[in-house]
Symmetry: C2
Subunit: 389 residues, 2 copies
DNA sequence: GATGTTTGTTAGTGAACCTTACGAAAGGGT
DNA sequence: ACCCTTTCGTAAGGTTCACTAACAAACATC
């Protein structure tokens, strides 16, 4: 057993650097607790409708008294309504059931990731009520912004109920304030989209990265749990990560940008970014479709798809291992992704990682189709209004 | 512009699945807020010593009144002491300075990741005061646990101050309760180490994965910020991830397990796990040392190191891209890692990812040497006692 | 009809933070 | 020397929030 002398300690300069154990945090007041508990009530009702005050109290651990108080507050704000009495025959006073005021608000969800801007009016459950589309016609910069405004305008005009908020899923890099730091396709640099839209419409607006919106949709409406990666394959390849139930943004808000990661050690086609063998050169739909068209036989087409899946699997394996992901979901054209490609991804990832507990990884297509980003954008509004944190 | 009919909605089953927007959370009481604010005070003082009540109040946003109250409470618990008056010449009543009671407690930090179990007595700043070592002699299971107890016993006996807590960094998979779910080298399966040690010593005990402890140490004592990956190279290869200032555990507490991820598309040596080309087959120190010994010239040795670095870079690239990491730190034998290998990792990762903002990635060796796990274990105790929430 | 159960509300208590106000202790100006 | 200003820490009292205790209402069961 050795003993360090003071000089050893000094030599390592341990006294100099002061530890930063905790992340810089802010004060918490009782009113913040109130807000949290408010969200808790809304959350509970959101997941299971038609519960009584006593039910919610039991679930949340709050007292019936406190809960009554919270509910009264939420009723005056028209976020909650009483929906009648419970009818089953039990002893005791019959319960008055509550529910979110689901038919009292609309949400506007917008998806800027495609060739045309798409939007929809949704209800609080995330069901799509009305759709709208705005061809972009190659517009960039301020013109593109104007098209977004026009799209939202048309949806707002069609709403028959108060609008809870506007959610936007944008490609590119978006910071926490909803400023699009960089979106090459749309010609945006430091575009303060959220602030502009909020000013223009006087509504709550949330702007997020499209893949992050998608991963939230999958979490909310799909069967996915809180740790998941959603890979979007389209004109480009991107991804959104959900860790512990909340999206990962990354140190420069660019988390999920895997399209230009080089995959494999055997070269590959040249990419628009200048490198060789980027994930996109194998998977982006234009290249993939071209390769499929060039394949002479069904067998050859299968080979193309399996190769693409293998490449994605090679890129995903280190991520799945490092993050101990239990679930990866693919989103994109079903006719390309579903089947051989998905199977191949799963096989490749399983072959290249160690399942700590066997049967660890689930890999599947999303069930939400093309609406995933719009519906995810709506979820961001719900989260914002219901209050996360 | 299309409009969805109700049947479309039904067809997609949107009404059926209820969104789970928010992660299941628990109620928050005023007393929890109090705890949070207590931590905030300790945190503020931990980062910069010798501040007055008024200073802390300004920093945290709490009022001087509230702060006086919190400080009084912390002083009665001997966690904070008054250290005299401020001496600079200013108008107004001179400030009475406060500091953490840095000389009033010891922390026990233990590292189980090496051939021998190592431990130390540390002060609140993380400086090592006394060391102890306990050869494992190949013991596994209960015998290994007994060795851990003996090691801690010897350190506790040597402490001249009350012990704030015991931190343990263990290899393998450790859950949030400090149960070692699986540590093949130590022959542990579902070993409730934290509970056992807490029972035995009547002290606060924190048990974490060794790489997670290391990444906390690097964050606390090194220059690393809140988004970082720390790769440990030794008998095996592992990693710890810090995202937004807090460690990532993964869906099955196995985050960071990258040693058995297959890297590259060109085969590789056979691994103990049965696969070919695992990261460990290129990087684990026994293999690396053997390869170096077999290399005839300095030039060949350089090649071996560069090859190893390249392999690590290939595995890291997708992770760095997906998580948008700004910093990767290596920990392990300096004579192997520092130099050609580290350079090669950096080059490879940069060449295989897209730096969204140029100069994005910092890649370097840790400056904490062999003590990194022990000191990280001490940080877990500080976090636990100061209260992370 | 008496008893027990469940629901939701009223009344009162304690915790935690706030605002307002004040004494203490210094510097600076006349 | 005196007064004014600044800064620090503490008191006193108010507000918010959730809790406990108690109760009325409404139902089932015996």
């Amino acid at each position: 057993m050795r003993t360090t002398t003071p000089s050893f300690v000094e030599a390592h300069g341990q006294g100099a650097a002061r530890a930063r154990v905790l992340r810089p945090s802010t004060k918490v007041l009782p009113e913040h607790a109130r807000g949290h508990n408010r969200s808790l009530v809304l959350q509970t009702l959101y997941r299971a409708a038609h519960q009584s005050r006593a039910d919610i109290a039991r679930q949340t651990g709050l007292t019936r008294v406190t809960l009554s108080d919270l509910v009264a507050e939420l009723i005056t704000e028209h976020l909650i309504v009483e929906t009648g009495q419970r009818e089953d025959a039990r002893p005791g006073k019959p319960a008055t059931l509550l529910d979110l005021n689901r038919t009292a608000f609309h949400i506007v969800g917008v998806d800027l990731s495609g060739e045309a801007f798409r939007g929809a009016l949704l209800d609080l459950d995330g069901a799509i009520l009305e759709r709208a589309e705005q061809p972009r016609d190659g517009d960039v910069g301020a013109d593109a912004t104007a098209k977004v405004v026009a799209l939202i305008e048309s949806l707002v005009a069609r709403a028959t109920l108060p609008i809870l908020g506007v959610g936007v899923g944008s490609p590119g890099i978006v910071d926490l304030d909803g400023t699009v730091l960089s979106a090459p396709n749309l010609g945006w640099t430091n575009e303060p989209l959220r602030a502009q839209l909020a000013d223009r419409f006087g509504l709550a607006v949330v702007v997020t990265n499209d893949a992050n919106a998608a991963v939230l949709a999958e979490h909310s409406f799909g069967a996915a749990d809180g740790d998941m990666m959603l890979v979007t394959v389209g004109h480009g390849v991107g991804s959104g990560l959900l860790l512990g139930g909340s999206p990962l943004y990354g140190s420069r808000f660019a988390a999920g940008e895997i399209g230009h990661v080089v995959v494999g050690t055997d070269g590959g086609a040249e990419c628009a970014c200048g490198k060789r063998g980027c994930l996109e050169t194998w998977l982006a739909t234009p290249r993939l479709s071209a390769a499929l068209a060039a394949a002479p036989t069904a067998h050859a087409r299968d080979g193309v798809l399996r190769e693409a899946g293998q490449r994605l699997g090679i890129a995903l394996a280190p991520i799945v291992g490092a993050l101990n992901l239990a679930e990866v979901v693919l989103s994109g054209p079903v006719e390309l992704l579903d089947g051989a490609l998905t199977d191949s991804v799963a096989e490749t990832v399983r072959a290249r990682t160690m399942d700590v507990f066997h049967g660890g990884l689930t890999l599947r297509m999303t069930t939400l189709g093309d609406d995933i980003v719009m519906r995810g954008a709506a979820v961001t509004v719900l989260s914002g209004v219901l209050g996360v944190s």
